[in-house]
Symmetry: C2
Subunit: 421 residues, 2 copies
């Protein structure tokens, strides 16, 4: 099993090719990472680029409805082309610069959410922009039937169904190949973030999607607001009824304008003697199903501190050393899972569930039992365990979950040693 | 120099005490981490606990004005007591349960922002709650003179000045001891988050601070809104004028209700031959000042992917292996800095600044030059370099910055090898 961090360091002057390929090979790329797209994030503000990409014949659009992506089959996403989405978007939704979009903002005008996902540089029929940026563009579009696009979206959905495509839940089974899963994850995270943030948390007024879907601006005027915006009534009535009150997000760079990603810690906890692994379960899980503990990192914590705090709060166990193992994007809705392996201290290995009420149970399992469950008892939460699973045995998450990778690392000796581990 | 990750793994059955103390010793605790407080996060919903803590004689209040904390001296925060803050908060701001606070919400009522920071368990004169939770409570309070507390806050500020205390900027010089810095970081991050989110990004209506300052609720009614809330005009006029339109944050758990922390990657980049380190500079920095590259992790990226993308976008350099080194909370306003060390691939070491316009310069420095600059050329951004610094030499960030720790790890051989590194 590949282990990225605690292996022997290589001499820096060693054969670099073999070192790098080995290192890349050993780096854990968890499910939902590993996107083949170059995001060229600095081109998102360039409306000529976005417009060119939007109309290019090599461009793929991943369509969502109510945050569910379009599938061709359970293992393949379906992409559509420019002519499919034009009835929803109009011919060129990137006709204006960002400044023009902001200065002509009209909150009563509905436009479907678009995300520019990146360029697939492997596609030789892709666009070439400024002699430097090559590849086939990928966009995501929210085609949920609502607002001004209701009938066009219903029409598109019908058309797609006739092609044998369907909108489906990607979460439970995770059957997509890794690269497709990574494209889907980027799209879902961004569509969801835009959908959650139609208003400015700083001033309460409607916001506008710009920057290829990676930013929400709080415009100083709203052509659709003849009644005046929030806050206007508290100040002197402005002579221009479209003018909105001042907002701090306009006068500086505010994180509120940018997508949110929530750092989460998830950790395999090993006993002081190295022979047991701590696992917990939530009440709503199937019988015999356990996983590693996890929780949100809080403001002003290092990863190691968050790991120790969460483990103590949820299980009463005190951790000593903590080592970061790997990370996994988790777009439900917006997490970065930071995987770690921690070891309990000898005087702190007693389980106590009384602090926080999050878990129904937490207890120590032998490394052997976990190893066997990783072999026969893994599956998606909604799926059956494999054919070798015996009722009553421990059940665990599948390989696509970082929890599985952390347990696998432990049973394969991540913490080192020549013991039975 | 302590290195947490790529050292030789210990046998799990080795002497645990020495292993743990060694591991703890080797774990990098960057500035702003290492808080001495137990946050007891699960007690934040317990108003009886908060009320008890608020009034306890052992309780310390860290006062802020315009996000600046109160100092006793440049190396010491000033804390005040219950009787100092009562004129601003009233006798018991935690009299009501969260449900009661939400159901009697009145957006026209101003209350100063309070944060429950945690318990200092080392203090034997602290409270004892439910036979389990001991320690001296810490709170932060925003005493910026405004709204209903304007005159009380001005009075307090005058009183504090007479005691020789002052509100000051903690950012530039970072002179606080590490534990104090961590308490300040938690307080600042939370006060800032609350101040940035007075409105619900989902529905545009005002929100209410609950959960000891770690949550903002979107109440279903607003006693202070006789004109009706946003959205009401689009639906049938409610019979109850205080009723607000439905909001998704009320019917499920939404990340919008919880503090935001932005994962950021920061990386020391080593050349393929291991002899050079890539550094960049922003135009606004002092002459000769350089640092490691950094940038925000984007949605649906692993840490390694974010590191490779940022380095390519800002410098044109292609990275091979990437190893996570340590993390640092950075409360300006809400970052988690994830420090990594990456190595360029042989065919990808040419600097190209043309992709993104963020840096004024990026170039390779020899390991020797960086080592010398770490010895003589470090300081806070606004400060003078040390006495041994010679004009024209490389200047670098101080030890309190993770950038410094990353460069130090590289010059001390983090990537291994027996070369001059």
């Amino acid at each position: 099993m590949p282990l990225p961090a605690p292996e022997l360091p290589e001499p820096a002057h060693a054969d670099l090719d073999s070192m790098l390929s080995r290192k890349f090979g050993k780096e854990i790329a968890n499910y939902f990472s590993g996107s083949p797209l170059n995001r060229v994030s600095f081109l998102r503000a360039d409306h000529t680029f976005l417009s060119t990409a939007f109309k290019h014949p090599s461009t793929s659009f991943l369509v969502f409805s109510n945050l569910q992506p379009l599938f061709k089959s359970p293992t393949e996403l379906a992409y559509v082309s420019y002519k499919d989405v034009v009835p929803l978007t109009g011919e060129d939704p990137y006709m204006q610069t960002e400044d023009e979009m902001i200065s002509t903002y009209n909150s009563s005008k509905f436009t479907p959410q678009l995300i520019f996902l990146g360029l697939d540089e492997r596609n030789k029929n892709g666009l070439l922009y400024k002699d430097h940026y090559k590849g086939a563009p990928y966009f995501a579009i929210d085609a949920t039937p609502k607002g001004a696009i209701q009938s066009a979206a219903e029409e598109l959905a019908k058309n797609l169904q006739e092609r044998g495509y369907h909108f489906g839940e990607a979460r439970m089974h995770m059957t997509l190949p890794a690269e497709e899963a990574a494209i889907y994850a980027e799209a879902r995270h961004l569509l969801d973030w835009n959908a959650r943030n139609p208003f400015c948390a700083q001033c309460g007024n409607p916001t506008l999607s710009v920057n290829g879907g990676f930013k929400r601006a709080c415009p100083p005027k709203d052509m659709g607001s003849l009644k005046g915006a929030i806050g206007s009534t508290n100040s002197v009535t402005p002579s221009d009824p479209t003018e909105r009150p001042p907002c701090a997000t306009r006068t500086g760079i505010s994180n509120l304008s940018f997508p949110r990603t929530d750092p989460t810690v998830i950790m395999a906890v090993v006993s002081p003697d190295g022979q047991r692994i701590l696992l917990g379960r939530q009440k709503r899980w199937p019988p015999h199903w356990y996983s590693t503990l996890a929780g949100f990192l809080e403001p002003a914590e290092s990863v190691e501190e968050a790991v120790r705090r969460e483990v103590w709060e949820e299980s009463g166990i005190f951790l000593g050393r903590v080592v970061i193992h790997s990370t996994q994007p988790w777009p439900y809705p917006a997490n970065l899972m930071i995987g770690a392996i921690g070891q309990a201290i000898p005087e702190g290995e007693t389980v106590h569930l009384g602090h926080d009420a999050e878990l129904e149970d937490a207890r120590w399992f032998s490394v052997e039992e976990v190893r066997e469950a990783l072999r026969v008892g893994t599956s998606g939460l909604g799926d059956e365990a494999g054919p070798e699973y015996k009722e009553g045995g421990l059940r665990l998450p599948p390989k696509t979950a970082i929890a599985n990778q952390l347990m696998t690392a432990v049973v394969n000796g991540f913490l080192g040693g020549d013991s039975k581990m």
